[in-house]
């Protein structure tokens, strides 16, 4: 039994026909083919599947697709304009904040939702909010550096 659900993703209206138990992550990856949203654990513990929903960074693996009626969702494919990288993406490149890159989309979206709400954070605040996302490669130094560079207006 499938249900129709209407939502906006990366600025476009979409309708998906989903099983009630299907996660938003599966709809994004399998139905919409947006592979930038990664599955690292499937239990909301690693942050690799983070998307922005109505302005909040959320783990899409824990959200049922049937429940996103009317929501506005942004994935990593939906930021940056006119072929230009979003400043956070640009900063991740410039400050070498991606090694394997598997956590990068989730990291960037968590940071984006946070900076939208708090454009002038301290480093401690950034470290605190990034607790939701795991990285096994970088030790977080360059990730925090990249986010702070955007917050400080060094990358626009």
């Amino acid at each position: 039994m499938r249900v129709a659900v209407n939502f906006k993703i990366n600025g476009r209206d979409r309708t998906a026909h989903v099983e009630p138990r299907t996660s938003l992550l599966d709809v994004i990856r399998e139905d919409l083919g947006l592979i930038g949203t990664k599955e690292g654990c499937g239990k909301g513990e690693c942050g690799a599947c983070t998307v922005i929903m109505d302005g909040d960074a959320v783990p899409s693996c824990l959200i049922l697709a049937a429940g996103v009626e009317g929501k506005e969702i942004i994935t990593i494919e939906g930021i940056g304009e006119n072929g230009r990288l979003h400043p956070l993406q640009e900063a991740f490149v410039r400050y070498h904040a991606s090694q394997c890159g598997f956590c990068s989309p989730g990291m960037i979206l968590t940071a984006k939702a946070f900076l939208n709400r708090n454009p002038n954070p301290s480093e401690a605040e950034v470290r605190d909010v990034m607790m939701s996302n795991l990285c096994r490669c970088t030790g977080y130094e360059k990730i925090v550096e990249a986010i702070m560079a955007v917050a400080n207006g060094e990358v626009a």
Binding site: C100, F102, M131, C137
Partner: protein, 759 residues
């Protein structure tokens, strides 16, 4: 042996290749791949730590709609001989040896159906006694993990028993004023790469197998597949995709791929298998739990006279190789001078998850024991532990007992002194134990050395590179190694562009594809830049000579009057007189002779053992009421030879500290001592450090350019994970006087040590 002209690309930190694809979500990892008609695989796993399988009935599973094929040991029982020596694993077997072992595999139209089908497979288990503890496993009457290997390469559960001695430790102990004995334990930890293992197998009707996998090596796995499937190597194409989500030693395995290949052949369709995070934790290899019992003799002046170590390594249910136990001994000979060294090692099977290579392979556990022991010794003889290390360290020109090689370069002393200065070594408590207070602060250090190719002086350590010209003057570099996120693609391009006099953006790479790239070893053991970097430099220099040769005809000048830079061949005496690489290759004469198609190959044999060194310093605060340890600052001073890409080197060193801090304070995959079942295979119960948990980091790069290696480099991928835990442990000792011998340094363990003086 500095290059004649100044380096312009090596030693800079350009943007890493392909990173834009990673930050925009375009990067296609193995798990993102799709093939027409692709099925999904799931593995039925053993609920028992040891059992014989008397039969498997999967008819009910096969009857489910959407299930295409099931395989069991009847399809996939292949024993193979990997390159590491002793037998490692079966595809599927009729005996299971740990909770989580492979039993049967399903291919179905969706992952959900495959998962469902596992519940419809009926397995007739004959449950056997099992053994979880490594020391109990060494007892003569212990249950045997591998009954079929007795008399072949196993004695009971002991796969490997090795004794290595340099000098005569008994004579050494006679000269000792102090003899210190300790016993250390290091836990089972997991690689926890963010991308779980994923692999995709596809057969064509000519019997060719193509496999894509999130992997650290292409050729070694291809070879294992060929042996197991009894196929010519040429009929297997193994590809590591451009994007691999971390490895750390954990993506280096054949058994799963053998099973998947057999499943895909039976199903007649491409099959994708991606592991769940839970499977990732307890069914892929872990770092080996280790026990080290040390006995060390020193003079009252603080000089080593005898060092003895007994190491027991829990290799789990399937060995990665006998090398696991014997290699640990190497590190006893590479860092400090001592005339008498003895190591007695055991590799022991238990009914626990298979263990194997992990960043700082064997080096990380034994350094914990060796470097903690030094602070015990220093306290016993009332000597500053930094002074002790400075006094005993191996220096340039000293012979490394392991392989008889003289140390060709060493920044060890510089790392000790610069690190000490950066942490404020003088601020430490002169004797272990800060004044009475709830929160006590202390400073500790640890030094280390690590692997370099040619450890024994005889091992094959070869790199290959193929470089092709494109008619526009750009180039394609083909290497049989994988970039697993550490930046190999960019670093190799830098070496190539530097040696060629080319432009970095015009060096394109194809990596780790057994059909198109030359044979390569493995992205592991901190060896790629040394081994394959040497071949890349050589092949780029050949290409440069070829371009100069062609240009000399065009320009009417002698080859000796020409050089290259920034994609040009130019006249040394008149740099304005130049021709672009693309112009040379477009020249009609060159084109008509086919001289524009230049394909060159180089093989590089590593000439010398070049280990990296380093020293790490930690400042901690211990809550003496709860045992909680807070690391305030970590300084890592690292002798990297030469940093090809300094920002990337920093990234490796910072990431290594992150893994080392986890190893020190939090990480342990716990196994139920009664049932053998894993207790915490998830990120909630197995704690990785997160951004806000990390201390202040200070990275100091020391570059005593080595005379033998390409551009003087040393392997940096594993360095800082090694000394992080002992530095923190020694800082706790300095803060409180409590001796912790068991990792991880959890509140529980530290509190027990505070109460009893040691744990």
């Amino acid at each position: 042996m500095l290059p004649e002209k100044e380096l312009t690309i090596v030693g800079t930190s350009p943007e890493m290749k392909l990173t834009r694809n990673k930050v925009t979500g375009r990067a296609e990892f193995t798990v993102d791949m799709r093939r027409p008609g692709m099925l999904y695989a799931k593995m039925l796993r053993s609920p028992h730590a040891s059992a014989n399988i008397n039969g498997i009935d999967y008819s009910r599973a096969l009857a489910l709609s959407g299930v295409v094929a099931v395989i069991t040991y009847e399809d996939a029982k292949y024993l193979y001989k990997p390159s590491h020596g002793s037998s490692r694993e079966y595809g599927l077997d009729d005996m299971v040896r740990y909770v989580g072992d492979k039993v049967a595999m399903v291919a179905a139209e969706t992952e959900e159906i495959a998962e469902l089908a596992l519940g419809y497979i009926d397995v007739d288990y004959e449950v056997l006694p099992h053994i979880v503890d490594m020391e109990e496993a060494m007892e003569p009457d212990a249950p045997v993990v591998h009954p079929e290997r007795q008399g072949i390469d196993c004695d009971g559960n002991i796969l490997d028993h090795n004794i290595q001695e340099w000098g005569d430790v008994e004579e050494g102990f006679k000269k000792a004023d102090f003899i210190i004995e300790n016993r250390f334990y290091t836990p089972r930890v997991c690689h926890a790469a963010l991308e779980p293992h994923a692999m995709l197998a596809e057969w064509d009707l000519d019997g060719n197998l193509t496999m894509w996998s999130s992997e650290q090596t292409a050729f070694m796995i291809r070879d294992s597949l060929a042996d197991a499937l009894k196929m010519p190597r040429s009929k297997i194409r193994f590809i590591v995709p451009d994007y691999v989500g971390g490895g750390f030693g954990g993506k280096y395995e054949s058994a799963e791929k053998i099973a998947l290949a057999i499943l895909a052949r039976k199903a007649g369709k491409p099959v994708m298998w991606r592991l769940t995070r839970e499977e990732e934790f307890y069914t892929t290899r872990t770092r080996s739990p280790c026990i080290f019992e040390s006995r060390t003799g020193v003079t009252k002046d603080g000089v080593f006279v005898a060092r003895q170590m007994r190491g027991i390594i829990d290799i789990g249910s399937y060995a990665w190789g006998a090398i696991m136990s014997s290699r640990a001994a190497s590190y006893m000979t590479m860092l400090y001078k001592c005339a008498n060294i003895k190591y007695t090692g055991y590799g022991v099977y238990t009914n626990t998850p298979p263990s194997g290579a992990m960043r700082g392979f064997t080096s990380t556990p034994i350094h914990y024991a060796m470097e903690a022991e030094i602070d015990e010794i220093a306290a016993a003889i009332d000597m500053d532990p930094l002074e002790f290390r400075l006094k005993n360290k191996l220096n340039v020109g000293d012979i490394i007992p392991l392989n008889g090689v003289a140390v060709s370069s060493s920044g060890l002393e510089e790392t000790m002194l610069k690190g000490a200065s950066a942490i404020g070594w003088h601020r430490r408590n002169a004797k272990p134990g800060a004044p009475d207070a709830r929160y006590k602060r202390g400073i500790g250090m640890a030094s280390y050395c690590h692997y370099s190719p040619m450890l024994k002086g005889t091992e094959r350590s070869i790199g290959n590179a193929v470089l092709k010209s494109n008619v526009d003057g750009s180039f394609h570099l083909l290497l049989g190694l994988a970039d697993i996120g550490q930046g190999l693609r960019t670093i190799m391009a830098q070496i190539c562009a530097e040696a060629l006099g080319g432009i970095l953006d015009e060096i394109n790479l194809t990596l780790a594809d057994t059909q198109t790239t030359p044979w390569g070893t493995t992205t592991a053991a901190s060896r790629s830049t040394i081994e394959t970097g040497g071949a890349v430099k050589d092949v780029a220099e050949k290409m440069k000579r070829r371009l100069i040769e062609l240009a000399s005809v065009m320009m009417g000048l002698h080859e000796g009057d020409l050089d290259t830079k920034e994609g040009l061949v130019y006249e040394l005496a008149n740099p304005g007189n130049s021709v672009r690489f693309g112009e040379i290759l477009h020249h009609p004469d060159v084109y008509l002779r086919g001289d524009n198609v230049i394909v060159l190959k180089s093989t590089y044999s590593v000439p010398q053992f070049v280990p990296p060194y380093g020293s790490q310093f930690a400042e901690v605060e211990v809550d003496t009421e709860t045992g909680e340890v807070r690391v305030i600052k970590m300084v890592a001073a690292s002798d990297v030879g030469r940093a090809i890409h300094p920002k990337s080197v920093e990234g490796q060193l910072e990431g290594g500290i992150h893994m080392g801090i986890g190893f020190a304070l939090a990480e342990e995959l716990k196994i139920d001592p009664v049932t053998g079942a894993p207790l915490n295979p998830n990120f909630l119960d197995y704690k990785l450090f997160r951004a806000g948990d990390m201390p202040e980091l200070k990275i100091i790069i020391v570059e005593p350019v080595d005379p033998y290696s390409v551009y003087g480099v040393k392997g940096v991928g594993e360095m800082t994970v090694i000394a992080t835990a002992p530095a923190i442990r020694n800082a706790i000792f300095n803060a409180t006087g409590a001796k912790v011998f068991r990792l991880p340094l959890t509140s529980e363990n530290v509190l027990a040590a505070l109460k009893e003086g040691h744990v």
